[in-house]
Amino acid sequence: MTAPRDKFGRPVVVVTGMGIMTSLGAGKADNWAKLVAGESGIRTITRFPVEGLKTTMAGTVDFVSVDPFSSTGLSERMAEIVTQEALEQAGIGAKADFPGPLFLAVAPVEVEWPQRRELGRAVGAPDFTYDDLLRISGGGKYSAYHHRFMFGSVAAHLAETFGTKGSPISLSTACASGATSIQLGVEAIRRGETDAALCVATDGTVNPEALVRFSLLSALSTQNDPPQAASRPFSKNRDGFVMAEGAGALVLESYEAAVARGAKILGVIAGCGELTDSFHRTRSSPDGKPIIGCMNKTLADAGMTPDQIDHINAHGTATPENDKMEFNTTSAVFGDLAQKIPVTSNKSMVGHTISAAGAVEAIFSLLTLEHQRIPPTINYDNPDPTILFDVVGNKARDARVTAVMSNSFGFGGQNASLILTREPA
């Protein structure tokens, strides 16, 4: 029997349900099998024309249909499917009656090109101004688009579908969003506001403009051929991240509540930490202090020391800057252990699921704990000699894993880390 409270006297927060979707497929079983087999979900984009783009591949989720299509609609549909999977596993509450709040990490929402083009066509003239678009937008013809492109629309839909309680929170901390959604859930349970929380993260934004935006910031890999080899975390010839879609859902509960209802405990969220970097909009402070501070805060929050971490699920985007910075900062926190702890980047296979990444990778970390097997970092043929991580290169590795640190670092100085364990500390 384990104490229901951690060493700081707070309720221990456990995971009792998980659902996942990536470019590898739907569900935990399919994703895990492909992940440990080293399969890539990255492919040439077929959803829209790629002529004129520097990057023509992504980790798209093409097996979910949304009609009429929009990135926000896809985000919503994926979130719904992974939530359903997580709730089925958790067996919590009644149908459409989840006994706690929703924290949703979701990409920022805006009117998209298919809808904008529809308006353009509706003007019915070869020459027009933005005012003409505005003039024909009203009258109720497009009222569904108002709802679709509200920032809160995905959360409202999930809250109504699954009966979560209170005001659902839609959040963005860029690439750290998924981790932040989990952190908000952990905090709500630790404060005693609720016994359960639903933490969902979703991103379906592989569309032309999103791709162009990241391209213009030189953030994306352009190694288009073959697409499966584009995402090369920790490799010397890495050249950027690969955009991807996906979603993850976690049912969090207090240990006490989970045990009381006889739920199977899948893992523990032992610690969360975040620290903002005020150096630059897209780059980390060169001294790495905010990231170092973030990892240290997370260890402190878990009441753990670096030697208790036996696997790191890296942010590992495969941008030249990130991976180097991640090694340097990890070394500052872990010392020599940074070269001994096995490290992997799921992004080598599923790409960077942006707003969803923190949750997707937390789920992969929990599956790593369950299976005692670390998924590989594929495309690791040409290691960067300055990154001295023990990268689990190309082939999955069986290992004794008791505690995983999962890192997420994003634009806007957003850093968040989680520590996941099999059993309460």
């Binding site: 024309p49 090109w113 933005y130 678009l133 509200m150 309680k165 005001s167 959040l171 404060r191 162009v212």
Partner: protein, 401 residues
């Protein structure tokens, strides 16, 4: 479930800083003076037939000294970064590295300020027959400014505030229109009240002078057209007039404030929020009534500051709720400042704290009788924020001591 009322053993949370940049002016005195004079700043011509409450011009240099920083932002971010700086000044912590290195930020944000010339250029070219498969890609690759993305990302308001003012604690951005502002305050309050945090910067900003936003709201016929009227007098001419504003608050535990000798404007006693299904008439009013019941007991001299938008049916639902509490004088921020979306709730909190600290509620500005005069100093103000489409929030701001 979503209640964050102070409980025994939990610390009191004070509002120790307020920053306002609105259509009525910059800073507390200018806004207060305009409210006293019932002065409303609306532009009925610039976006005709749509009406906006434009930002009263400010000198961004005073809070965002580097031109390079200003260039990296679009208007909504400049307004917010500016107002956040005013709030830090107001709390007396501007430049205080010890405090700013640990301050927790919760920002309510929209985003996506678009380049209308690029959008119109693509669409008119297509109307003239451009239909090559890669046409959109090529135009976007050549026409979009690389830094525009960063001016659009929701979390880059917080990012810019951190960069410009040197904030190094934590940073969370909540989206979701009006109720995001309530949730930002709710979470910041809960974290301070429980001891997870000592001090937080909370707020939002909005640029209402945006045609891309008007298109979005026009889809739902939500824009106020042709003629301005106070929010409560729009029943037969419904809609909201977008407003530009930044509103930020510094929230702080009483102990932390006292240790540094900071004086409170007021205390933030409770923030609650919910999501009414709004399927049937009365759903939203019932949810507001439920939230009202979750607030701590009101025994003092009370008032209500409403963020009602003027859009229907939400505004009529809210008016129905208010009628049940007719002994509370009501004020509408929507009438005075326009609808500032994510910023409306922080703006309401700011005006509640300001009214309490100045010992008077600002005067009514309404022809329908919904707003009545108030004599004497309010000690308890309920801030109500109901979204034009979804989301309901409520807070209780009280006099300290």
């Amino acid at each position: 479930m979503t209640e964050t009322a102070s409980k025994p053993g939990q610390t009191e949370v004070w509002i120790t800083g307020i920053g306002l940049a609105t259509s009525l002016g910059e800073g507390l005195d200018a806004n207060w003076a305009a409210l006293q004079e019932k002065r409303i700043n609306v532009d009925e011509k610039g976006f005709a037939p749509y009406i906006v409450h434009p930002l009263m011009p400010v000198s961004f240099d005073s809070q965002i000294p580097k031109k390079g920083d200003q260039r990296q932002m679009e208007a909504w971010q400049r307004i917010g970064t500016y107002a956040a700086g005013l709030a830090l000044d107001s709390a007396g912590i501007k430049g205080n590295k010890d405090i700013l290195s640990k301050i927790d930020m919760v920002v309510a944000a929209g985003g996506g300020e678009r380049d209308l010339n690029v959008d119109t250029g693509v669409l008119t070219a297509e109307a003239k027959g451009a239909n090559a498969p890669g046409f959109l890609n090529e135009r976007l690759m050549s026409d979009l400014r690389p830094t525009l993305f960063l001016a659009q990302l929701s979390n880059l308001l917080a990012g810019n505030i951190a960069i410009v003012h040197g904030l190094g604690g934590t940073s969370r951005t909540f989206m979701g229109e009006e109720v995001a502002g309530a949730d930002a305050a709710r979470i910041a309050l809960a974290r301070i009240a429980s001891g997870e945090s000592d001090i937080a910067l909370v707020g939002g900003s909005h640029n209402g002078e945006r045609k891309d936003l008007m298109v979005l709201y026009e889809f739902g016929d939500f824009n106020l057209k042709d003629k301005f009227a106070p929010v409560w007098a729009r029943k037969d001419h419904a809609g909201f007039a977008l407003g530009s504003a930044g509103a930020f608050l510094v929230l702080e535990s009483k102990a932390h404030a006292e240790a540094r000798g900071a004086k409170p404007f007021a205390k933030l006693s409770s923030v609650v929020a919910d999501l009414a299904r709004r399927k049937q008439p009365g759903d939203m009013a019932a949810t507001l009534e439920k939230l009202w019941g979750q607030l701590p007991k009101r025994e003092g001299k009370g008032a209500i500051i409403s963020g009602a938008t003027g859009a229907e049916p939400a505004t009529s639902e809210e008016r129905g709720f208010l009628k049940g509490h007719a002994d509370f004088p009501v004020r509408s921020t929507g009438t005075m400042f326009g609808h500032t979306m994510e910023t409306q709730f922080p703006l309401g909190l700011a005006l509640a704290a300001l009214s309490i600290s100045r010992g008077a509620l600002f005067p009514p500005n309404d022809s329908t009788g919904t707003e009545i005069e108030m004599q004497g100093a309010p000690t308890q103000i309920v801030v109500v924020g109901a979204g034009h489409w979804r989301g309901e929030g409520m807070a209780l701001v009280e006099a300290v001591g």
